[in-house]
Symmetry: C2
Subunit: 243 residues, 2 copies
Amino acid sequence: MDVVPDGYDKHAFEPFAVTVDLAVFTIREAALHVLLVERGQEPYAGRWALPGGFLRPDESAERAARRELGEETGLTDVAALHLEQLRTYSEPGRDPRMRVVSVAFAALLPDAPEAHGGGDAAQARWTPYDTARDLAFDHDRILADARDRIGAKLEYTGLATAFCPPEFTLGELQQVYETVWGTALDRPNFRRKVLATPGFVEAVPGAARLTGGRGKPAALYRAGTAAALHPPLLRPTPEGRPA
Amino acid sequence: MDVVPDGYDKHAFEPFAVTVDLAVFTIREAALHVLLVERGQEPYAGRWALPGGFLRPDESAERAARRELGEETGLTDVAALHLEQLRTYSEPGRDPRMRVVSVAFAALLPDAPEAHGGGDAAQARWTPYDTARDLAFDHDRILADARDRIGAKLEYTGLATAFCPPEFTLGELQQVYETVWGTALDRPNFRRKVLATPGFVEAVPGAARLTGGRGKPAALYRAGTAAALHPPLLRPTPEGRPA
DNA sequence: TCAAAAGTGTTTTGATTACACCCATGT
DNA sequence: ACATGGGTGTAATCAAAACACTTTTGA
């Protein structure tokens, strides 16, 4: 440790600015969307970026991330939304002006309220993931990392329910998987696997909802309590992998 | 974003100290061990802690972590060792003196060179994971998080090979799983699963090694190139979970 | 009565388990 | 010879995939 006997070495640490960056995902029209804000000033003025901001003196990165999430989405009940730390980006050159260490988070939203450029951001917009490119700073990389993580976590956690409203149908849940993984799933088998996994979902007795205007009303479910899925819900082998 | 039009708001960020903390694991005598250092000064003087230190002005957290890893273990070929970012701990009260944001890493070592208290640390010691308790700061939590992550990643990545020397036997690899998971595995089945998973291990032609002094010499393998295992090597259901 | 979406059943296929057994080496 | 650890074979069990089929609604 770079510590001298009488306390911290005054030269051992430089002051860093610490920020949070958010990859906020939702599903709209059967496509994964991400919330982007347009930068108003240099560097990268006019470019799109992930929402984020500085840590305040007495808040943790988690608290800062949730605060920013509320400010950017305009949502009031941000407390229940899924928010998870991804990793921290600390490469010296990532901000041209100064040393900024950024803690990245991924957030998942069920519905997609129109973004309204919270606070000082020029504007905010939901963007299809596939068209979100050439972002400011290293946000392309952060966004790609976030997407990978979300896709992987669907396999072995109950994370998919975070994309759904409090009460949802199995068809809606299946659409989450199909959208994020980009593959079609067999409905009967999906249904069986989900219901056979304890703690994944729990039935709302008696409730039902019409989904597509037509068809049989679907039973409703709530997110279960299990964090990890056992057995995992493995995605169909994506080319070249074994069964 | 807490940014004013003409640049960063001078009051929007406080200077933070940024450190890295390392959970360095190895396997000794069929038990998971972690590297701890004894603190020489307040706070927590005399208490054991995870090795770590401050980020230098022009290095990333990853570089700082690898540098610290070399300093604490005394190893010279630290470049090849597995090092992975865990998460960042930023709760305001985690260091009593000042605001310290710490990026935590997990490192995996094949053999266990005796620790020699690198740099200024009072002393360093390999400690069985189960007896590593009452650490300084929030290091109990960091260590527990690290252990959980390692255990989980054995299932769906080739991480276990990071605990093994460059060339290893399947018996040694199996011991890694049994030690980290705390369960016995069926040798024939383990062998088949590992060999059936492409990219997990590759055979070293002709090579063999005696493991326990007795018994048939075992064939040697090298770590494969696959990062993710498909299908995953699921751990036996740990009580109460379904098959 | 048809289309659309939910939900059930069944057959077939493949993976996993739980063993029994053989091989090579040191003592 | 036998203990020890490596390695192979196999029958039984279990889970998953594929797909046919029934149900309930709106148009």
